[in-house]
């Protein structure tokens, strides 16, 4: 596996060599610094910790300064661990978008947009009541029955009902890398990516 942390910038569309329109998302990815290396002997599992995006000095905490000193760098905004990394990495190694190549497929992890408290029609694609007539009143988007009566005399766990929607960790797999601009740390992937603009995303490649 190989990966990077990045920031979703927004969407646009470009054309491929056949003239086909490709909707794509622009992500500013890296440069990420290896801030820590977890090893089997010391931590019980192996992974590398990547840090992304500078922050202002007034936001530094002493504990962070100490942690990042091992990688001889300043504290960064975001940290994430990547397991099963292909190559061996050392403290302070810098990863850029050049870990990816145009045309290959990556997975993108993000936090989806929060939708707030939503009913079952939006949240679970229930149909609602399609009739306005036949005695229907005030229940166009109602969920309907949530179970039988005296048996089982309760509502089953996990019954789909209204509630908080969105704001979940979402992973999209097999997005094609359309374009890479190494000078500006930009990677362009085909299709949409979870989350609002300027949100943190994790790009992974499993080979």
């Amino acid at each position: 596996m190989s990966g990077l942390l990045g920031k979703k910038l927004g969407m646009t569309s470009i054309y491929d060599e056949n003239g086909k329109n490709i909707p794509c998302t622009v992500i500013e990815a890296g440069p990420c610094i290896v801030s820590s290396v977890r090893t089997k002997e010391k931590d019980g599992y192996s992974a590398i910790q990547l840090a992304f995006e500078d922050k202002k000095e007034k936001h530094f905490k002493k504990s962070e300064v100490g942690h990042f000193a091992k990688a001889s760098t300043n504290p960064k905004k975001y940290l994430a661990e990547f397991t099963r990394f292909e190559e061996k990495k050392e403290f302070g190694d810098i990863l850029t978008v050049e870990v990816f190549r145009e045309g290959e497929y990556v997975d993108v992890v993000g936090t989806s947009k929060g939708k707030g408290f939503q009913g079952v029609v939006k949240r679970y694609n229930f149909k609602g009541v399609n009739d306005a007539t036949h005695g229907q009143h005030n229940r166009l988007r109602a969920p309907g029955s949530i179970g039988a009566s005296s048996y089982p005399s309760r509502v089953f766990k996990g019954m789909r009902m209204a509630g908080r929607m969105g704001g979940n960790r979402v992973k999209l797999i097999n997005l094609q890398v359309v374009k890479i601009i190494p000078e500006k740390n930009i990677i362009v992937v085909k299709g949409a990516v979870p989350g609002p603009n300027n949100s943190l995303v994790k790009i992974e490649r499993w080979s």
């Binding site: 646009t12 622009v26 603009n197």
Partner: protein, 117 residues
């Protein structure tokens, strides 16, 4: 560097062809390439521009024509590589940027005043 500039960088790679300026209410003829199997040929679509949407390489425009008493609308991306040529036939006088009311008009009412050049 702001976010938009970085997206702009990606958008700059899309080639935007130069076309004469047109707006909603104008009658234009769009010549575009059609690929059938391996053969390529040109086709023309003439009609009234209903709207222009968007900016940069993602901009599109909608054209409406009446084909055999049936209204046909086509949306073209302005940076589409298939568009060969856009010719302005008439410059119309309309008060709106998007003339959706035009869809409901039939016969003599479905006329747009032409701008005297």
């Amino acid at each position: 560097m702001s976010k938009n500039e970085l997206i702009q960088l990606v958008e700059d790679t899309v080639e935007i062809k130069e076309f004469p300026k047109f707006k909603a209410g104008d009658t234009v003829t769009v010549t575009y390439k059609i690929r059938e199997g391996n053969k390529e040929r040109l086709q023309k679509f003439q009609g009234v521009v209903l709207q222009r949407v968007g900016s940069g390489p993602t901009a599109t425009f909608t054209i409406r024509k009446i084909s055999g008493n049936i209204g046909v609308e086509r949306i073209f991306p302005i940076s589409s590589p298939f568009i060969e040529e856009i010719v302005i036939n008439k410059v119309g006088v309309v008060r709106r940027a998007r003339i959706f009311y035009f869809r409901k008009l039939r016969g003599k009412k479905a006329r747009i005043k032409e701008k005297r050049m």
